[in-house]
Symmetry: C2
Subunit: 318 residues, 2 copies
Amino acid sequence: MKIKNENDLLKYIQKTICTNSPNIIKSIGDDCAVLKINKNKCLVITTDTCLEGPHFTSDYLPNEIGYKSLATNLSDIAAMGCTPKYILMSLTLPKLENEWIKSFYKGVKKLVSKHKLTLIGGDTNRGPLNISIQVIGINKNKILYRNGARINDDIYVTGTLGSARAALMLAKTNKFKKEIKFFSKFLKMPQPRIEIGERISNIANSCIDISDGLMKDLRSILDSSKLGASIDLEKLPVHPLIRKIINPKKYYECILGGGEDYELCFTAPRKSRPTIQKISLATRIRITLIGKTTKENMSFLNNGRLQKFNFKGFDHFA
Amino acid sequence: MKIKNENDLLKYIQKTICTNSPNIIKSIGDDCAVLKINKNKCLVITTDTCLEGPHFTSDYLPNEIGYKSLATNLSDIAAMGCTPKYILMSLTLPKLENEWIKSFYKGVKKLVSKHKLTLIGGDTNRGPLNISIQVIGINKNKILYRNGARINDDIYVTGTLGSARAALMLAKTNKFKKEIKFFSKFLKMPQPRIEIGERISNIANSCIDISDGLMKDLRSILDSSKLGASIDLEKLPVHPLIRKIINPKKYYECILGGGEDYELCFTAPRKSRPTIQKISLATRIRITLIGKTTKENMSFLNNGRLQKFNFKGFDHFA
């Protein structure tokens, strides 16, 4: 087979290397691997690498790099409805620059303290900057997968969409200094939605974190659940500034095609609406109903009229 | 504090970030982290990154890179006396070159098949080549640590010492083509000593894998066990070709200071000698008694006469 993109690579690996064994409930292909350790308990394990270019740029402060590298991993644990516990860090650094290192760990520590994590292992090397982090979590309730969505499930997203991408889009202009600063917080310091993940784990049917854009990530839920969806564009939660200042031609690319929001997209049965509203109130995090799953196709409705898009989510190699 | 080398960095991390919690039996500072999952069972977890430069050079074939990246991680599991089960791989690749990728996974598969491993997760990115692998293992017997050595323990090493370093030393000359080819096998395709690790786990008191040179790695056992050692230089297992062709001035640097042999160095009580001999026979792997632990100092005896050395093991940043 010819490997042309990340998806092909994943398929090649699954075909070539053993990816299943008795205690592995979920192997490669979801946000985390799931390892059964006894009758009711599992460990969920994820690994994510952060690099200059795709994940951060030269204008990031070291503490923002440390924070974001860990946040993106924690977001994968949140997407499984689990609680992060332990982390390992493989750091490749060009040199031992004391100021850089101390600032970097300040960013890491922010999330370690907030989520009561323990750093249990790692590795340091000299070379082009590369931060590879692993997080191990545990399930308190049910574990959420991408493939659990059922027909006529409500589809929800947390927070707002497109704010991280707006920061990137605006940075290309020479205007909007104040707005860039505002949206950069979403890009550089995303909030992993651990608490929401934990609270929805017993009521949601499926979940994913939005790292590659709602279009691509929701598609992962639908493809693996063998379903379609109907999304109401006017319901998408978007910061009002985005509608004001993003080029209207790029508006939907910003909110549907833009990754790095690290919000959760999940599906749940209609009967859970009151509980989900309570969770939103208790956590003070917006949770928005944006559509529902259908038998097939993914369609976007703009005030009832079908709208088509031709952009895709992020692929490191496409 | 000022961070000048890997050791300082480790101390800085331990001081700054939480590295202990109730179910963590061993945190950063050993070959693996140890996570207790029930009364008798633990998971051992390690992560190691492979880079061009410190870990492989441009003359490595992709299948050798794949093999060695995984072998070095498996060696850490062997050093704990445990059995590797699951792996995760974070791959950063400059491009999706099909031939390279397929050869790389061929090397990975060799060890995956041999040790019946399951690949359960990973991540792919585009950037300067960086292979970060994690291995999760289980204990069948006791887990071996660096800090378990007792006074008057016998000190053993598996296989031979210095063969990997000999390949590097000879490569700098323009001679010895045949010998370079011979020693390159040790450098590029080290054998993780899983079977030995498993078999000695109930009798050894401490263990480490030799990745940075016997001098530095044995020192880790001694420092963490608060002991010294007396090593008989003439007992060190060395391939006879090394004595023949390595510059005599570099001989001990080659066998004591040279890393990447990925043999095991372990200590065990005197009473275990017959069992260890049986293990060596059963596995057909040489296990050599090279000295014993003492109250303090690390001394090297050359036919009874004290010999001093002034080289150190490998440090990525020193």
